[in-house]
Symmetry: C2
Subunit: 344 residues, 2 copies
């Protein structure tokens, strides 16, 4: 028995199998494709040979001959929080359902998707889904000329095919809730609209709620989407003497960290400030007060991305972009009564 196949000791090919089964390679291929008509007896002989030899076709040879990779690429940022994991799971599940592999590339702050890596990714897949705001537009535009490309959680504007969950209306809704149901009048937005398209759209909703009520719109607090950014935002707030009574945060991580920091500084949530988040992460339902937030169908987003990409690749009529619906989840942090027990 030979050792594990390596580049130097390639292992059996379709020729070995054909020999072993006493048929031609075309027949082996047919059996393996389950495609054309092959007699039962022949099929068995071939399958027996496959089994005996531990044969496994090289995907590269298949792809080359068939002219398709049968793989989708997915580009995401650091996988912090449940958001990206969910997206990824939805995408992977849908892709698997379509018999497609998923090639994943992560973009981290110190590790942008440079030309080489992007090319290597794109060269091995039939289509590409990229998280909105991750890659500069010109790079995207270039990529678009190579492969079908879909921007996920981005804006439909820039001329790319895009797909996203609703943002603006939900943000307006949650802001309006804080204003109308809890009588707040000087809310601020924690997050940087420049950092990602969703954040910009959420800030727009926030803005709209204020404008409709004739309230002034303060500048957003800025910062990224991580816990540390929430702490920073809280400290900036403290430093400015807290000219606010509500903080609408761009996501739950910010909201949780900010709440913790403000509470440590002696402020009460929701007493002194109402706080809201976005995403409904696990911790949102465990902290006290529970975090009021917006839940989005992230997994569906991922799945839809895979399906739309597949349709683009196979040339089927593309879905209309569609914006997925979200849902506001009210808990104690905005001033609402705490819902039932924290357990799921």
């Amino acid at each position: 028995m030979a050792a594990v196949p390596t580049p130097e000791t390639p292992g059996p090919t379709i020729y070995s199998v054909a020999d072993a089964a006493g048929v031609s390679i075309a027949t082996v291929s047919r059996v393996l494709q389950g495609s054309a008509s092959v007699s039962a007896r022949t099929r068995e002989k071939v399958l027996a040979a496959v089994d005996r030899l531990d044969y496994m076709p090289r995907a590269s040879a298949r792809s080359l001959a068939a002219g398709q990779h049968e793989a989708l690429g997915l580009v995401l940022p650091e996988l912090h929080g449940p958001y990206f994991s969910e997206l990824l799971m939805g995408f992977e599940e849908a892709a698997a359902g379509l018999d497609l592999s998923v090639v994943l590339a992560l973009v981290e702050p110190d590790r942008p998707l440079d030309g080489a890596r992007f090319t290597r990714l794109a060269a091995g897949v039939d289509g590409l889904a990229v998280l909105g705001g991750l890659i500069p537009d010109d790079v995207l535009r270039r990529a678009t000329r190579q492969k079908p490309l879909l921007v996920v959680a981005g804006e439909g504007t820039a001329g790319f095919e895009a797909l996203a969950a609703e943002n603006t209306a939900s943000a307006e809704q949650v802001t309006a809730h804080v204003l109308d149901a809890h009588g707040r009048t000087r809310p601020v937005f924690a997050g940087d609209p420049e950092v990602a398209p969703d954040v910009r759209l959420r800030f727009e909703g926030f803005t709209r709620a204020l404008e409709r009520r004739g309230l002034p719109v303060p500048a957003p607090l800025g910062g990224g989407l991580r816990e540390a950014d929430g702490v920073d935002a809280a400290e900036r707030l403290l430093a400015t003497g807290m000219p606010t009574d509500a903080v609408v945060c761009a996501n739950d991580e910010i909201a949780l960290a900010l709440t913790a920091r403000l509470t440590a500084a002696g402020l009460a949530v929701p007493g002194d400030l109402a706080v809201t988040g976005w995403d409904d992460v696990m911790a949102a339902s465990y902290v006290r007060p529970g975090l009021t937030t917006v839940r989005q169908p992230v997994r569906d987003l991922g799945a839809l991305a895979a399906h739309q990409l597949h349709e683009r690749i196979t040339g089927a009529a593309p879905h209309d972009p569609g914006v997925l619906e979200t849902r506001v989840v009210l808990r104690g942090s905005c001033g609402c009564p705490e819902p039932a027990p924290p357990a799921p």
Copy 2:
């Protein structure tokens, strides 16, 4: 300008580029490999043609000719909690550093990695990393004959190459802490040792701590690793009249949900019961009391997996397996004084 290339409209090949640049395809290949000696003038001509045509080599053709996929496969379960994300990030970063792509396959309860999917995965990569306990041993053994394979966070026993973070000693340590520092005497273990190798090893550490002190070892509470399982465990505990004063949980999700459920039932943590978790997820530091837990270098684990796999593939002498160290993080849930502010 042609539309986006699709299987029907393939786009430029190395031949187009060679024509456009007035050289042979061998020369184009050389330029693209950055390899052999090519005159500066020729190189420029080729690069100009590449640029003009938006040429992108097919990975499948490269792989076929070169006999390598330049890709690693990774098999993980559902990406809940930060654990798997971290692992994935570490793996992907290391792989990218080695100029390798990452093909991801997720195994979910209703979606096992059947033969077809596994074959499709293995057929397109040079090596495979699989989370311990996910795939039946016989399937693994079969896979081992095809490709280099590494079991991550599993046990080194079964004859597979394996890699993991320390479990038993840390579990013994955290259990001992609850017993010795907080005077508990009747702890139980929440989790099912059968569900994953790490859990089994943690339960072993738990067991050892009790045995060394001459205490009886109660049967583990059983159940999976999700929040819902923690709730279940809590309810089982309540139903049996709570013959315990400490719960050592297999992970933080269980610990958090169980704590919430017990608290809702009127019990005090750590007053009535000490609770500990595993992983140090984000919520662990936000809840009150903070959750005492064990932090493991998950990202490093992922990175190490990619590196070891690569060494196996390239035939370099394999690292020795190595077990990564973990660290107990003490917070309020075991009875310790709460550390500084909750913010990171």
